[in-house]
Symmetry: C2
Subunit: 200 residues, 2 copies
DNA sequence: TGCTTATTTGACCATCTGGTCAAAGACACG
DNA sequence: CGTGTCTTTGACCAGATGGTCAAATAAGCA
């Protein structure tokens, strides 16, 4: 049985994950250095490598933790609920994630931009299966006349892109909006978009 | 007066730009190496540095060229045209750019993800001004009842995110869609989205 | 052809980077 | 307090990386 991590281990492992998230989400895997991560974690480099065997291990651990949370909001979409509200609810959950976890969003974006070398199988496996399952539900909703006809998979892509945009392109959004908080106005806008797209 | 570049200069400078685009768009500035770029250009590293003074110079040149083309499609939106068609036309032009110039899109995405250190001023200056100008036009269209009420700036964000998604998240999109070509179905979908959002 | 300029290259350098290791310091617990 | 374990660190290493330079080679042109 694995010995439970000591207090110090818990603290430092958490610090490293946070630091890694901060650094990797900004520069990507290859653009980040162990020194940067160690700095951000307030540890020396050898000390950092006492807790994780390699740079890759930190990055992989981050990606693994991320993927868990990433699919969750889509899972929550309930095929027994009201179609328009279920889809809007999903979009709103994703937007909230963009606001509360922008670094996670950017880490994911970085990985995808670089060709998703470490998670291509998850995308083509778990994610694809989940999307297809939800697409089937959406198709049923369309057949039942509960929502207007729409390509279900592209609808999901739209939710992803419209919500993640506010995290991934944050600097651009803020450069244009100035002092206005992006997320307040974004929520209203996205609800407009999806309601008009879907309400029969 | 600057001597016109020789045939060899033109060829090699072009090769370097293409190679740099290929490499930088995948790994970002810090994640890319001169050796990679030199390899992709079919030149030795010192030879590459004979044409560009530094890694930074190549990257900056690429960004500069990119920004020119990036704003162009939005400029083309004609305030005297039919509102819905003008906005859809812009979205379609952007989608076409995502299909034909995905590396440019990813280069831009990488730069923004990293906090846009080299182009923040362009975003807050030229881009912001352009967006504000077009937002004014859109507001007028709304006031005239030509399109449904919508937040003009977020509308523009939506066009960006929905279209660039197909270039930036290409691997994810293809992992989910399988053999289907993303862009054929995307075009129909995006027209649905914007028509339902805007048509009064 | 010969001569000038443009191009290419191999060898080289300082710095950075991921990672190792042995020794020193801090903790926990009897 | 003492002792065994956990944690931290300074010194170090091999390879990668951005960049330089003098010398060799190829074009261009009179």
């Amino acid at each position: 049985m694995p010995k439970s991590a000591t207090r110090i281990q818990q603290k430092n492992q958490a610090a490293i994950m946070t630091a890694g998230l901060e650094v990797f989400s900004q520069f990507g895997f290859r653009g980040s250095t162990l020194d940067q991560v160690a700095d951000a974690a307030g540890l020396s480099k050898p000390n950092l490598l006492y807790y994780f065997p390699s740079k890759d291990a930190i990055y992989t651990a981050l990606l693994a933790r991320l993927l868990e949370n990433w699919l969750e909001p889509l899972h929550q979409m309930n095929d027994a609920g009201d179609p328009v509200e279920e889809i809007l609810g999903y979009a709103n959950r994703k937007l909230t994630m963009s606001r509360d976890f922008p670094r996670e969003s950017r880490l994911f974006a970085n990985e995808i931009l670089q060709g998703a070398p470490r998670i291509k199988d998850v995308l083509a496996g778990e994610l694809r299966a989940l999307v297809e399952a939800k697409a089937t539900v959406i198709k049923r909703w369309i057949a039942e006349g509960k929502i207007k006809p729409v390509d279900p998979v592209h609808l999901i892509f739209s939710i992803w892109s419209l919500t993640q945009h506010y995290a991934d392109f944050d600097v651009q959004v803020r450069a244009i909006l100035g002092d206005t908080d992006p997320f307040d106005t974004a929520e209203t806008h996205l609800n407009d978009v999806f309601r008009r797209l879907l309400t029969p």
